[in-house]
Symmetry: C2
Subunit: 236 residues, 2 copies
């Protein structure tokens, strides 16, 4: 306790010096401040010392840092992983199904209110083509198109965009053994009747009915998927 306070705690001085700098200097639009090396020499302190001061301000929540990006004023922006690939990497089939069950019934409800006759006739076309499908791959194509036509029928580009994102993640997610074998879908396939019920409800402007029909359909899909998973686990 012999040395003067101003010298025993020089880093505090750096903190106040840094605060003054940030207060007077008008930063860029994104609040980015100069790289550590520049700032250190500009303030006439060592980089290590500057970093200590930055640590303090970061702990206070006044700024945030990221390697390769830089140091920024304000609070860290919420990391919105809107990237399809990143989403697919973090997600899994169960999450995809729960998300579909949450989103698509409400999209269907909205579509029942806004669908045009042209939309509905395209849905019917998809239904017919999916019945005639020779391969499972063809069936999947018409099934996907039916669901997207319903999303288009909402006349809401934002809902359509969200649906597309969900769909892209669904395609990108790793399904492993859950994938179906490439045999032709049987006429008794559960989806046929369920799809028809959905389109019927949309055509009758039955919003509640359309939503619940879509929900029932997706829950059946989820159940079939889980049953398949159980069988696969039993075999292995």
């Amino acid at each position: 306790m012999l040395t003067p306070p101003s010298d025993t705690h020089p880093e505090k001085g750096v903190v106040t010096q840094l605060r003054a700098y940030l207060a007077q200097s008008d930063l860029a639009e994104d609040g980015r401040l100069p790289p550590e090396r520049e700032l250190a020499s500009a303030l006439g302190v060592s980089r290590a010392e500057l970093r200590k001061a930055l640590d303090v301000l970061e702990a206070e929540g006044q700024l945030w840092r990221h390697v390769g990006k830089g140091t920024f004023m304000g609070s860290r922006p919420l990391d919105t992983f809107a990237d399809i690939a990143a989403l697919a990497r973090r997600s899994n089939p169960a999450e995809v199904m729960r998300a579909r069950i949450a989103m698509e019934p409400e999209i269907t409800r909205a579509a029942a209110f806004t669908a045009t006759p042209a939309d509905i006739s395209e849905m019917r076309l998809c239904l017919a083509r999916s019945r005639q499908a020779e391969t499972w791959r063809q069936y999947e194509g018409w099934d996907t198109r039916l669901h997207r036509t319903i999303a288009e029928a909402t006349q809401n580009s934002l809902l359509l965009g969200l649906f597309d994102t969900l769909n892209a993640v669904r395609r990108a997610v790793t399904w492993g053994r859950l994938r179906s074998v490439p045999v032709r879908p049987l006429p008794s396939h559960h989806s046929f009747a369920e799809h028809e019920a959905i389109v019927d409800a949309i055509e009758h402007r039955d919003m509640a009915g359309a939503a619940s029909a879509m929900r029932a359909h997706l829950m059946t899909v989820e159940r079939k998927l889980m049953e398949k998973q159980m069988r696969a686990a039993g075999e292995g």
Copy 2:
């Protein structure tokens, strides 16, 4: 009509030659076929002639092309405008509100099933802070965080990603005169009680109640927005 048919319509021959090539050659996983310059020399025809044949197949929908990418078999993938900026450009406040009303109640329903006590206490924190907000900007911050905490509570990274996308578009969309003036929100602000009802329902694991409380809240927000629009139109 003096020249033999096989010479007067050489491009038809190229089309069939191309069809044969596509049938026998097994393309890459993504259905991409070699660049035009290679393919032309491989088939022994000029690039212009090959392009005519490709035009035919493209018109038939057998393949699709894109500058810088290449030429691909099959139907063009649906252009998924997952890009935030593009979505915001095509959308508008009305669409954003309808999308929120479609999505967020179902997210809330899921959250009521999966939320942890930690999630719920964070929601309560957001509620308290939003009540203490000194400025409208601060209130918005806590309001946004409350809604995102609910989305996080679903424990579904895909649903959270979709919510983030929706939220990003909401921030990016041009609201024009609908934007609120920066005065302090009054204690009687409708959102306070509505937010509380939502969190209460989540805490009691009342899925239906949570969904309907969120729906009621968002519909109030939408109604207030439209009323404001009406007043603005009357003034102008």
